[in-house]
Amino acid sequence: MRILILGIGGAVARRVALELREQGHQVTGIDTRPWEDAPADVEVHQVDLRKRAAEEVFRARRPEVVVHMATVTSLRVQGEERHRINLGGTRVVFEHCRAYGVKHVVFVGRHTFYGAAPDSPLYHTEDEPPKELASFPELADLVAADLYAATALWRDPGMTTSVLRMCYTLGPSAQGTLATFLRGRRVPMVMGYDPLFQFMHEEDVADAIVRTVEKRVRGIFNVTGPQPLPLSVIIRETGRLPVPLPMPVLRQLIGRFGLPRLPPGALYHLKYPIVMDGHAFHEATGFTHRHDEVQTLQAFREAWPPPRPRRQEMREFLGALTSAR
């Protein structure tokens, strides 16, 4: 099959591309980011999805399957631009798919769709509406993109649409929201709260997307891996130092003193859990995760050991200086 992957520069997208290529599919990709060591038979077009050059790829390559992974979170892109990429980009993708006879579109969305609130249930099912947009407006464009993608289910009945809501990705590449959050030595928590976090190994994420392509499943699916864990356990098991701070203090401190930069609304995700039920996807595709929570945390920790304290680095530097003399 001819498969086009949008956002192929990402760590998971690269894995998807390699796996599909291995299965004998012809893989093309679009991303503004380069992929320097891409295999020769994976064609990567370094263009903006919303520009004419991207449409040309659809026109010339005539993909049968499109995997749309070119959305961004508020951690990476701020303001209007993020809105244009997520919602504008998704709209363009579906328009091109319609115009150039794509048979199957896979929209890779996020579990943050459901929102974090004190009264939201554990294990969200696919039929639930998005919540708590008012407290985290930076999420609105991703939620809108997810809902827009789902309209293709009735708008274009001839085309198969799969909307995937993936939980957090963790793994050796340390890309993604949770991994970025955990990179530093100290990880902030909201004092008095310890939400459950649901995550899966990046290999499993890639595998789930490949399976969606293979099985050509139609509908909206939550994609989950092992059982969720409290944030404090994740921080501890990845060798990091939890720093519990009261909410008002944390709001002032994020982005400073080595703490990750987050939009204020994201702090609600440090208070309340978003946990999804992945049964429907398992039943439709037979997907089960291969890496459990312990292995996934270990994989991340081995690839990204906690940065050493500055004090220790300084001491070693001084030690080296004195011994050199």
Partner: protein, 302 residues
């Protein structure tokens, strides 16, 4: 040392037991202790026998944590055994495994009743079980309370949670009176306010047996003379109970729990309201019967 003393008191040959015997005696069941001083098993020993699917980190798929449950139960065990000296009857009616719903009356202005029911399922049952309450939603909005409630399996009272937990064969604890029930004043301590009907629909839908229980003494432990609804609103809770000593701190009044025989209702959960209300009435009547019988016996000092 207690083991040694027991042997001496019974008039048996006094000898120093070997280390092995002491180990063996370290965790006797409560039944064995009947002849001597009541020997109670430690919370740790019971925690090991708690049948929940904990993972390598001691966390179950709902975030219930073995460590947190242990701390929680140690606190509850002190109140259950030493402070309130709870007497629990009919615990054999609660199934050892499989889904079940504990349904009873509220007694006392704060959640003493719920806490003691959880303690009774953990301390009296064999194997111990974790009764999972359907907590008031406001609890989750408070720091510290939110993670502790979640880690101990006390989730916000949403139908989604109830169905999921029952389908996973867990033990659910329901107070159909809701927050209206804890707001009962001292004079109303043996009354019951209107029961919600949600629990019955859930029980029918998931084919769950209902174990009715009557809880007595909570109203005397926390004699509420007034409820401050305005202050409650300001604090983000339904109300603040006031006792003669102002704060809703419980007195060490003996409490009683009486479990009744399981009640099984047949249906789909989609019946008309009148049918459901009839079933709910039966459960309420059963609980009222337990309370009525015992309040008179208590009055007579039995």
């Amino acid at each position: 040392m207690r083991d040694l003393k027991d042997t001496a008191d019974d008039g048996h040959e006094t000898r120093v037991p070997s280390a092995c015997e002491i180990c063996h005696d370290a965790a006797p069941s409560k039944k064995e202790g009947k002849t001597g001083v009541s020997r109670e098993e430690s919370v740790e020993a019971r925690l090991k026998r708690l049948e929940l699917p904990f993972n390598a980190y001691g966390v179950d798929p709902y975030g219930v944590s073995r460590w947190h449950v242990g701390v929680f139960m140690k606190v509850l065990a002190f109140f259950y055994r030493n402070y309130f000296r709870v007497s629990c009857h009919g615990i054999e009616h609660v199934p050892a495994r499989g889904r079940a719903m504990l349904v009873g009356n509220h007694s006392g202005g704060v959640a003493v009743d719920g806490a003691m029911i959880i303690a009774s399922a953990f301390l009296e049952m064999e194997p111990p079980r974790l009764a999972q309450g359907m907590a008031e939603k406001f609890i989750n909005a408070f720091p510290v309370a939110s993670p502790w409630a979640s880690r101990c399996g006390q989730f916000p009272g949403l139908p989604e949670h109830a169905v999921r937990l029952l389908e996973e064969e867990r033990l659910l604890m329901v107070f159909p009176e809701g927050a209206r029930g804890t707001a009962k004043l001292y004079s109303e301590r043996y009354d019951m306010v209107e029961f919600g009907t949600g629990f019955m629909r859930l029980a029918l839908k998931t084919r769950t047996p209902i174990i009715p229980f009557g809880f007595l003494g909570g109203g005397a432990a926390i004699p509420t003379v007034a409820n401050l609804y305005g202050l409650g609103r300001a604090l983000g809770v339904p109300y603040v109970p006031v006792t003669p000593w102002v704060l809703p701190l419980p007195l060490p009044v003996p409490l009683e729990i009486h479990y009744g025989e399981p009640m099984v209702f047949e249906g789909t959960g989609n019946e008309e309201d009148t049918v459901i209300q009839g079933y709910v009435g039966q459960v309420k009547e059963r609980i009222a019967g337990i309370i009525d019988r015992r309040r008179h016996e208590r009055w007579e000092g039995r």
